[in-house]
Amino acid sequence: MNRYSIFSLLRNSVNYHQDWQRAWRSPDPKREYDVVIVGGGGHGLATAYYLAKECGISNVAVIEKGWIGGGNTGRNTTIVRSNYLYDESAGIYEHALKLWENLSQDLNYNVMFSPRGLLHLAHNVHDMQEIGRRGNAIRLNGIDSQFLTPAQVKEMVPFINLECRYPVMGALLQPRGGTARHDAVAWGYARAADAMGVDIIQNCEVQGFKIENNTVTGVETSRGSISAKKVGCVVAGHCSVLADMAGFRLPIESVPLQALVSEPIKPILDCVVMSGSVHAYISQSDKGELVIGAGSDLYNSYSQRGSFDVIEATVGPVVELYPIFSRMKMLRQWGGIVDVTVDRSPILTKTPVNNMFFNCGWGTGGFKATPGSGNVFAHSIARGDMHPIAEPFSMYRFISGALIDEGAAAAVAH
């Protein structure tokens, strides 16, 4: 593997960059793997990477129906944070954030993790109670968290309209939160995993599972049958479809989540600002676009498209909170299919089928968890038993009642 650095870039520029190698190979699938990961998004590729790097299992295939990173990995608003209320959530998201902080160096691929600070605004008394509870919990979990006054918010975002319909009463700041370059995460993990021997197989659709004695033994794909000792399914949006192939149901519904970007402009917003009560989620990318998270359509759909009313319901609040953006223009809107659980927490789980593991249900918040999710999922698959951080996220919590209800507590869990 070419090592990436300013020096390799210089060296290659002499020859007009003719000598760069493929970032990852394009192998034909082998007959058999120790582990097959279904789904070549960020979480799946990260899983493969950590299997090879930390669990000593490199006879791994990542099977992707389309092109890696083509699903939600490349369709989100790139926000990274770990300021969650419950210990379980804080556990997995903070595990992820710690990995983010060194990820570019670890992968030798600049994923542009940019801890530019992330604000949650509070607009009413209930919001203040919510951030009060969460901010304190976060701090006691050893994660950075600060309360800001409206004046301090104004300092960070001078053009914010503090006196909007629901006036800004305060905010919760996670200084280490920020953004990362979403595509780079998939590509960086793919390249690093590939270098350790993982086969990344694109344009290969899983059409069924081979299950004997309630134990999975492989997958049937559009490129033939592949045997596997263990199978991990990491297919945001489509997990119910795969579960259906394996003969069980999940407590999940798939809905289109939308996002949009404005035309690029010179830097004006240097942090990420989220507002649950006014429903505005905004940051500015390195290219200069305002990246805005829209809502999800409230019906199941796999069409990767949303409705215009969701865009209206998103841009309205943005202009209410940031009136100077009224003359800005929407450049592009898009949708992804997110798999939503009732408690707005993910599912990392063993399943009714032996040796088959699922990692899904990240809803609107999967991107930020990518390294942590992949890491603990890899360890879980390798051990055959869930990693302690992943343990509480079992699908069986919906039987016992031990939900991790980030949704109910915060009203929004982006």
């Binding site: 300013i6 493929r22 970032a23 160096q105 209930h126 109670q129 006691l140």
Partner: protein, 1002 residues
């Protein structure tokens, strides 16, 4: 300054109206009817901006919405807008624009250093570097951010207004070129409701730049005739300056009309800047035309190089001849129209045709006119110096077109026009989930199968129909068919016969033209994508590194991700990749076209839903009194509720303490109108209450009230309130303010979908009743002065309701209490709410009646340990967790949520339970949300036992009080724990029962 490049005649301009405008602080003149681009070209200005990445000088490339280069910052101050396409901005008196992405000026730009080190900045260079040392990335990032971004955001509040409107029609036609006009005419004649929309200020589409004949007369005469006929049709709506930006499911179409924008910020006329149309059409006819495809040669991004049809448009439509010595380079015949028109307008014209032995009538005409044609040749170099295009080098092509041969010859010129054929504008079709198909012969994508819910037709060059007669015919058929499909009788007639200008010879499938060094391996650059500065070499690099799918290619090279969304570049990118991979284009992939077609302003999307209309403010009938009496409001949902009533400059704390004391000392009054209210009637009303509440309702007698908790099926509390039996089968339910709609929906859901046979009806009556609640030891005495009713415990016991007149107003009076003191909740029809309140205030004067807000209300209830759902519960709390097992019936059988109690997690004895907390220091008020720990550790992490849900200074208890959800809380009563505070300190607390005030009558 004079308009040196303006033709003496021609163009659809109002030459009598000279307009003065400023570009980069320099004054120019143009005419009404110009765009900023045409006016600049008329003044010889080509250089208008710097490119995104390398800051290369760039000029005006097109004459329409596909413009990748000529982006300007329009106006300044509150009216400023970044990234406006000069090719679309209509000129108005006093227009002021400036160049973007350059410093200090567009002519001399420091950022152009990027161009010098461009070899270090190939596609995706940033993924490969800036990693060491890790901590420095954020520093590098600052510079990257500053270099990117093009224009600047406004920094002032938008002074303009925006309109938004719904529309319905039978046939919507997008594009008013020859096909679209024909479609409108034929659909319109059937009597169908038709909308015809075009993005330009006038209808005509390609005919605006054309010199074709229709029905034997110049095309513009035909256009006028058609428009006149359309004007006569009542059911036809014509919209110019309107861009269809989005095509969604079920023929839902979004279009943005620029209503007054073209008049500039100082316009006299009122009205909105823009109007957003949300259209439902039964049939959508797409006549969206085509966009000219560029040829890519060495340094073909230089100012002074533009599309051939843009040249023709400037010459014919705008009366501008943008160069005196013009060279066209083409791989097809259509460019010859531009050559001939430019020649006729007086330019010296030569054509470089990449084809071997091209022939045809157009070429014959060109040769007859003395236009020299360089066959089988290409441009191998561009001489651009000191802001001006000075000439080019021409070389012969090799047989396969992949290399040049011979020696270059210099050709002096000040304008180069390029044509690589045409790309159908299929964006909307694709947005509407239509499947595209690739036409091998035409080298382009055209509409294939439509999505099932997006019915309609396509006509004209958007489906690669190039001849005018054919376009007219297709338009007529599409319009008539669409009208028929929408239920109108219609047939296509052939009353418009266009004159075939000429028969085109075959094009040469060659778009990336070689130079004297291999493409991408030398100083000259081949930009296939002007907006984001993406080169052919970038695509080759992407392919080399495995980013071969169109999605990877786009993302890795940023091709097509600019504000033009790759309108001129996408197909060339696909072609390059297909050649590198040696696979057909469809195998490389199709870009997914996403809305909007051109960028859509936030203001337009928002329309009227801004400021006061953003979210309705709901106010109670008593609100005018609150306003007059200095209320500070709290937002509860979309209600405005009085939070407290400060007097004489009181602080919130002082006001609230005073209100709490007064309410218990004598009499307090609170506006409780916002509580949800539901009228429930029918023989199965009790059955319903038994299912939705945890306690038993079978025996509640008429006139009596009962408190209830509602659970979801998960067993968690989600609402509470008092429900009163009005008559045997008739109940009045109250809900929390925020939960009103949710509870009503919950009841209807069960009744309509699960128990439709039950005989019970629910009717929301929330706003029917205004509610004033008077509380305190003197509440009864006060009320008795306004009614003739005995109010003693026997006549009117606690938890009962009576109807009688209060202050002459028919009222339902509930003796229930949220304070623990004697309380009467007086419900009157909303129209009398204010009168009731004023009567109570007047009568209460002798009892020092004190109006109080929600904060005092919360303290008064907390003193008695009453919960607030949503504050002391959060969707994870069962009644048992609240210590309210008394309200869970063990005998009545099933109710919603009950089964969930017996799951393993719900039966845990150490669940979080509601308790009271008393601070060691009685004057210290715990912040709400702080967490309780066993013992504070030096540093986190530490195990949290639970959090403080409610916390106040209670003047009636005489100390601070708090409620908390605490793990194993019931067993911890009496024990001392610590609360961790944000500053790292801690405070000792004792766990208690959550009832702090034992006194109180109710």
């Amino acid at each position: 300054m004079s308009q040196d490049y303006r033709r003496d005649k021609g163009g659809q301009l109002n030459r009598s109206k000279t307009l003065r405008f400023w570009y980069d602080n320099k004054g120019y003149e143009g005419y009404q009817g110009d765009t900023l681009a045409s006016a600049l070209l008329a003044n010889g200005v080509h250089l208008v901006g710097r490119s995104f990445k390398y800051h290369r000088p760039r000029g005006i490339y097109s004459a329409g919405s596909e413009e990748p280069n000529a982006l300007v910052q329009l106006e300044s101050g509150a009216h400023t807008e970044p990234n406006r396409r000069a090719t679309e901005v209509e000129l108005y008196e006093g227009l002021s624009a400036s160049s973007q992405n350059c410093w200090p000026s567009v002519g001399f730009d420091i950022g152009a250093i990027n161009s010098k080190i461009s070899r270090l900045l190939p596609a995706g260079f940033y993924y490969k570097t800036f990693m060491w040392p890790g901590a420095l990335w954020t520093t590098y990032e600052k510079f990257i951010r500053k270099a990117a971004g093009l224009g600047k955001s406004p920094t002032e509040i938008d002074p303009d207004s925006y309109d938004k409107i719904h529309a319905h029609c039978d046939v919507l036609i997008v594009g008013a070129g020859p096909a679209g006009l024909q479609a409108a005419l034929h659909a319109g004649r059937s009597g169908a409701r038709v909308m015809l929309i075009d993005e330009k200020p006038m209808f005509g589409g390609s005919l605006l730049a054309d010199s074709a004949l229709i029905d034997g007369a110049p095309a513009d005469q035909w256009v006028t005739k058609v428009i006149n006929e359309l004007k006569q049709m009542r059911e036809v709506t014509r919209l110019t300056r309107t861009t269809v930006t989005g095509y969604y499911d079920y023929n839902f179409v979004v279009a943005n009309e620029r209503v007054n924008e073209h008049l500039g910020p100082n316009r006299k006329a009122g009205g909105p800047k823009e109007r957003l149309w949300k259209i439902r059409a039964r049939q959508v006819v797409l006549a969206t035309g085509a966009i000219e495809r560029p040829l890519v040669f060495a340094d073909s991004d230089r100012p002074g190089i533009m599309l051939a049809h843009a040249l023709r448009t400037y010459v014919n439509h705008y009366g501008v001849l943008p160069g005196n010595r013009i060279v066209l380079i083409t791989n097809n015949d259509s460019a010859y129209h531009s050559a001939l028109d430019a020649h006729a307008a007086g330019a010296m014209v030569e054509v470089i045709d990449v084809r071997r032995n091209p022939s045809g009538s157009l070429l014959d005409t060109a040769r007859e006119q003395g236009i020299h044609i360089h066959e089988n040749s290409t441009i191998s170099a561009v001489d651009y110096r000191r802001g001006k295009l000075r000439g080019i080098e021409v070389m012969q092509l090799s047989d396969d077109g992949k290399a040049v041969r011979g020696v270059p010859s210099d050709l002096r010129c000040d304008l180069v026009a390029v044509s690589g054929g045409w790309t159908p504008t299929v964006h909307l079709f694709s947005q509407g989930k239509g499947k595209l198909k690739f036409l091998d012969d035409e080298h382009c994508y055209v509409p294939g199968e439509r999505a099932v819910n997006n019915k309609g037709f396509e006509a004209g060059s958007c489906k690669a129909t190039w001849s005018l007669p054919e376009c007219l015919k297709e338009g007529a058929i599409a319009g008539a068919s669409a009208a028929s499909a929408a239920g109108f009788e219609s047939t296509a007639t052939e009353d418009a016969s266009g004159t075939e200008e000429s028969v085109y010879g075959p094009a040469r499938a060659l778009w990336i033209l070689p130079t004297d060094h291999p493409v991408g391996r030398g100083p000259k650059k081949h930009f296939h994508e002007l907006h984001n500065d993406s080169t052919v070499a970038d695509i080759a690099l992407a392919a080399r590194e495995g980013f071969v799918s169109i999605e990877h290619l786009k993302r890795y090279t940023t091709t097509g991700m600019g504000t033009d969304q790759g309108k001129t570049s996408n197909l060339n990118a696909l072609t390059v990749m297909s050649e590198i991979r040696d696979v057909p284009i469809p195998e490389v992939g199709t870009t997914t076209f996403r809305p909007p077609f051109t960028p859509l302003s936030f203001g337009s999307i928002v329309g009227h839903d801004r400021r006061e209309l953003f979210v309705q403010k709901r106010k109670t009938a008593i609100h005018p009194w609150h306003d007059r009496n200095n209320a500070v409001y709290e937002d509860v949902g979309d209600w405005k509720r009085p939070y407290y009533f400060p007097q004489h400059g009181e602080s919130m704390h002082d006001a609230v303490q005073r209100e709490c004391l007064a309410a218990r000392a004598s009499a307090g009054i609170v506006d409780a109108s916002t509580l949800g209210k539901i009228d429930i009637q029918g023989p199965d009303a009790r059955r319903l209450l038994n299912m939705v509440y945890t306690n038993a309702w079978s025996k509640l007698a008429p006139g009596r009230c009962r408190y209830g908790l509602m659970l979801n099926e998960h067993g968690m509390v989600f609402d509470d309130g008092v429900t009163t039996c009005l008559a045997e089968n008739h109940f009045h339910m109250t809900t929390t303010t925020g939960g009103a709609a949710r509870v009503m929906g919950w009841l209807e859901e069960w009744l309509q979908t699960e128990w439709p046979q039950w005989q019970v009806y629910c009717t929301s009556v929330t706003e029917q009743w205004a509610v004033a609640s008077i509380t305190g030891p003197n509440a009864g005495k006060l009320l008795s002065t306004l009614c003739d009713q005995p109010l003693d415990d026997e006549s009117f016991p606690f938890m009962s309701m009576q109807s009688f007149n209060v202050a002459g107003i028919p009222a339902r009076v509930f003796r229930i209490s949220f304070t623990g003191d004697l309380t009467f909740e007086i419900n009157v029809p909303a129209r009398y709410g204010l009168a009731l309140w004023e009567a109570l205030m007047k009568a209460g004067r002798q009892y020092d009646i004190c109006p109080y807000g929600t904060e005092a209300m919360h303290i008064l209830r907390a003193e008695k340990g009453f919960i607030i759902v949503g504050q002391d519960t959060d969707g994870t709390v069962t009644p048992l967790d609240l210590g309210m097992d008394w309200i869970v019936s063990k005998t009545k059988g099933d109710f919603l949520g009950r089964r969930s109690f017996t799951r393993s997690d719900t039966t845990r004895s150490d669940r979080k339970q509601l308790v009271g907390l008393l601070t060691e220091d009685p004057s210290f008020v715990l912040p709400e949300g702080v967490h309780v720990v066993e013992k504070l550790k030096d540093k986190p992490p530490m195990t949290m036992l639970g959090h403080v849900t409610s916390s106040y200074m209670s003047p009636n208890v005489g100390r601070s009080i708090a409620m908390a959800l605490l793990k194993d809380g019931f067993n911890r009563k009496g024990s001392t724990l610590e609360v961790s505070l944000m500053d790292g300190s801690s405070h000792k607390v004792t766990v208690t029962d959550p009832v702090f005030l034992k006194s109180g009558s109710e």
